[in-house]
């Protein structure tokens, strides 16, 4: 399996999805080697997975580590600055930082061979994707496997390359497309990677029908090649959180949790906040996350004159996420285009009712949630006010939502992926 990110090194839903999916797959008895294009620094390792420091891929098997939680899963990493949500111009900064951190390591840990690696870093993302592909091929030659499963555009080239070298079938998993991330202003290079990957793949897994439609209409792929497999959620919330009701707090909290980028619709969140504040005063809007629109969004809050009511927390993880859910009265996801959206499931799992845009894949599977068009700021505000004002609404949403979300299991997603694997393996044999 070729991926971008894996907990605890995550910046979005993709890592969470890969984690949940691989965990469920290993329960089904599938053996997975997970190749990450991520550089892992020893300094900030979290504790719930047993990580080993990656070494050079040309070296011994130091780059391999196994998790304690997931059997049958082997994770291998390639030092690379690829980041799932990076844009071309952030890449340069990233390179510099890696070089800097390498130097730190060199002085601290003294591993000489790392020095030579610097020469391998290419100067732009395009070359980097190819470098990752080449490295993945080398790694793949040391492994035995039956299917290649590549997650999102940065790994498609690697997937195609590994498939060409090994002759094994390629499944690509589309968690997001360039049209979701950038609207109509697509990056042609990324689009080309995506399109090439989709056409080379033996089978495509899309996270929703919304995404499947984009794949069909924008990438010219034929419909029978694309299977929809919805994401799942791990049951980790407290589940009994109805206890929150009755605790009177002076202030209500409305939560935005996600990357602050064009795709996630932060300006619609603020637009709705402005309208809500015309009617209700004792409410605070929390924006948890970071992203390229962060600065503009902070400015917008000030422009709208609601700066004192909007709080920016930056990117949250782990315990902080749990805490913010505990305080929240409503989670709002006004995404302009959301292929799936795991975050609302996590909110429901934590007994927070959710309001999601109709332009999201997750709205295909959830019924016990509030929905609005992302552009309909008036309606979003109307629904936010209703949740804050009518306690039975919040209660019913929690009760049914929490029940509904339990039916979305990674086990089912893993089972469907397994079916897709069997299909492509059989087809490969027939040919």
């Amino acid at each position: 399996m070729l991926g971008w990110e894996f907990p605890p090194f995550i910046s979005g839903g993709l890592g969470t999805a890969c984690y949940g999916l691989t965990k469920a797959m290993s329960k089904l008895g599938l053996e997975i080697t997970f190749i990450l294009p991520r550089m892992i620094r020893t300094g900030n390792l979290s504790t719930h997975i047993n990580l080993k420091t990656p070494g050079d891929i040309k070296g011994d098997f130091q780059s391999e580590w196994e998790t304690q939680e997931i059997r049958n899963l082997k994770i291998r990493t390639i030092d690379s600055p690829l980041k799932p949500y990076a844009t071309a111009h952030t890449y340069q900064d990233e390179i510099e930082e890696i070089i800097r951190s390498k130097q730190e390591r060199i002085t601290g840990i003294t591993k000489d061979e790392n020095l030579q690696d610097n020469g391998h870093y290419a100067g732009d993302m395009y070359a980097e994707v190819h470098r990752y592909a080449a490295a993945a091929v080398k790694l793949a030659m040391q492994e035995s496997f039956d299917v290649i499963h590549a997650h999102d555009w940065m790994t498609y080239s690697a997937g195609v390359a590994v498939a060409a070298v090994s002759g094994k079938p390629l499944v690509i998993h589309v968690h997001s497309t360039e049209f979701d991330r950038s609207g109509e202003h697509v990056n042609q290079m990324i689009y080309n990677f995506e399109r090439a990957g989709m056409h080379a793949a033996d089978k495509i897994i899309a996270v929703s029908y919304l995404t499947k439609n984009i794949i069909l209409s924008r990438y010219g792929v034929s419909g029978d090649k694309v299977e929809v497999v919805y994401n799942g959620i791990e049951k980790n919330g407290n589940g009994l959180g109805l206890g929150k009701i009755g605790i009177s707090r002076d202030e209500k909290i409305v939560l935005f949790l996600g990357r602050i980028t064009m795709q996630k619709g932060p300006e619609y969140f603020l637009g709705a906040a402005k309208k809500v504040l015309e009617v209700i005063d004792n409410v605070r809007f929390v924006m948890a996350g970071s992203g390229d629109m962060m600065k503009r969004t902070i400015e917008l809050a000030a422009q709208l004159g609601i700066g004192s009511k909007v709080m920016f927390t930056g990117f949250l993880r782990g315990e902080d996420v749990r805490k913010v859910y505990e305080r929240a009265d409503l989670y709002v996801m006004p995404s302009v285009s959301e292929p799936f959206g795991i975050a609302p499931l996590e909110a429901l799992n934590n007994d927070v009712p959710v309001l999601i845009s109709k332009q999201s894949g997750v709205s295909e599977v959830l019924t016990h949630v509030l929905k609005a068009d992302f552009w309909d700021v008036n309606e979003i505000a109307n629904k936010i006010v209703a949740v804050l004002k009518y306690p039975p609404l919040q209660m019913t949403l929690k009760e049914h939502g929490n029940y509904e979300v339990r039916k979305l299991r990674w086990e089912d997603a893993a089972e469907k992926c397994k079916q897709v694997y069997n299909q492509v393996i059989n087809e490969a044999v027939c040919v």
């Binding site: 005063d281 008036n378 009518y390 609404l393």
Partner: protein
């Protein structure tokens, strides 16, 4: 020798318009939608079905009879949007073969929340029926056939009814037949007519179902089933929504042909007859007592009130609307009172039902909202506006503090 008692429920609610917390006017109803639905149903169902029934009554020279309960909220809409339907009902009334049944004018759940309001709405309905069709109802049916011992006692104490219609639910019959007349535990003159749900639902729900092993249902076959009852019952009560004809079962399913041929087939057997509810009550004795301590209805598979009172939103919305009763009445504002009453129509609470997974299809079909949550939000926003119209601030409840602030900031 069984009699057939046909009784049709005829109803359309005043659907609400999309009303947000930012709206401040007093237009709560979606006139455009109500008009178009009313006219659509009139053309697909009310007009053609009335024509068929009228023809049948004439053809069988008084041997074919039916009963209707037309809600006040529909009568108002018909008068505005489809007056031609009113004249065909008037023609039916003049045949002397049609009985009109009483119910709450607003098709409300008032029996459960306010006995005063309950009685007011019954009288309003009976007055309307008498004015329009020249007969004062003697038999009562409660909204959605909701019934309990308490309802029978309430009707008895009103002293104006001979009988009441409700569902022949299994859990009140304990194996007895719905084809007899029954009486409530407490002594009185009221008799109970129970819906034969098996035969009624064969027409109302299963008629066009191609997966049903009895499909296609023809008048001959149905008459056979009725004749099998011979000797084990007095009257087969076929109660259903009038919209069954042409709206729930479209014309191309053959439902009108079925209706057209049924009386002829039934009357072929000399012992068979058609009776109106009042005639059935006059003709046959009550054979036994049915004890109904809890509420029953004709809805869903549960035959209870969970379709209107199944979740916190529904009970909250109902509680809120009846809490306002005195406040609304004290204003003496007639438009306000009428609006408040139209909001009591049970459909508004039905739309908030979250039991989607077992009864999903039926609920969705009748629901103008995308979700039960949307319908609750809409309803509560209107409640809030209405409360402001009463000129009184919401009292007591803690959660209303914000409402108050909202009211202040808007004013």
């Amino acid at each position: 020798m069984p009699s057939i008692c046909f009784y049709f429920q005829v109803h359309q609610p005043f659907r609400l318009r999309h009303y947000t917390v930012f709206d401040q006017d007093h237009r709560y109803f979606d006139d455009f939608k109500n008009k178009s639905i009313c006219q659509k149903v009139a053309n697909k169902c009310y007009l053609p079905a009335n024509r068929v029934i009228l023809d049948l009554i004439r053809k069988h020279e008084g041997k074919f009879k039916v009963a209707y309960s037309i809600t006040g909220v529909l009568l108002e809409q018909l008068a505005d949007y489809a007056p031609e339907v009113m004249s065909t009902f008037d023609a039916l009334a003049r045949t002397g073969c049609v009985e009109f049944i009483a119910e709450t004018y607003y098709h409300s759940l008032s029996f459960l929340y306010s006995r005063g309001e309950f009685r007011d709405q019954i009288f309003k309905h009976m007055d309307a029926i008498e004015t329009l069709f020249g007969q004062r109802p003697k038999v009562f049916r409660n909204t959605e056939l909701i019934y309990s011992n308490d309802l029978a006692a309430e009707l008895e104490s009103m002293g104006i009814f001979d009988g009441v219609i409700t569902e022949g639910a299994d859990r009140i019959l304990w194996g007895r037949s719905p084809n007899f007349l029954y009486k409530p535990p407490r002594e009185g003159k009221i008799k109970i007519l129970l819906k034969n749900y098996a035969l009624s639902d064969d027409i109302a729900f299963r008629f066009s179902n191609r997966g049903w092993n009895e499909w296609p249902l023809k008048a001959e076959k149905f008459t056979n089933w009725v004749n099998q009852i011979n000797g084990n019952g007095y009257v087969v009560n076929l109660f259903m929504d009038y919209e069954t004809f042409g709206e729930h079962q479209w014309a191309d399913t053959g439902i009108f042909d079925f209706l057209r041929h049924l009386p002829e087939e039934i009357l072929r057997h000399p012992d068979n007859s058609f009776k109106t509810p009042s005639e059935a009550i006059a003709s046959y004795p009550a054979t036994d007592i049915v004890d109904v301590p809890g509420l029953i209805s004709w809805a869903d598979t549960e035959r209870d009130v969970s379709a209107w009172l199944g979740n916190a939103m529904q009970s909250n919305a109902l509680h809120e609307i009846y809490r306002m009763e005195q406040t609304v009445k004290k204003t003496g504002d007639k438009t306000l009172l009428a609006d408040w009453r139209k909001l009591q129509t049970s459909d508004h609470f039905y739309y908030m039902c979250t039991k989607w997974f077992s009864d999903g299809d039926v609920h969705k079909y009748f629901n103008p909202y995308d979700s039960p949550y949307d319908s609750y939000i809409n309803f509560m926003n209107i409640m809030n506006n209405m409360e402001k119209r009463c000129g009184k601030k919401p009292r007591g409840r803690k959660k209303s503090v914000e409402t108050e602030q909202a009211a202040n900031s808007i004013i």
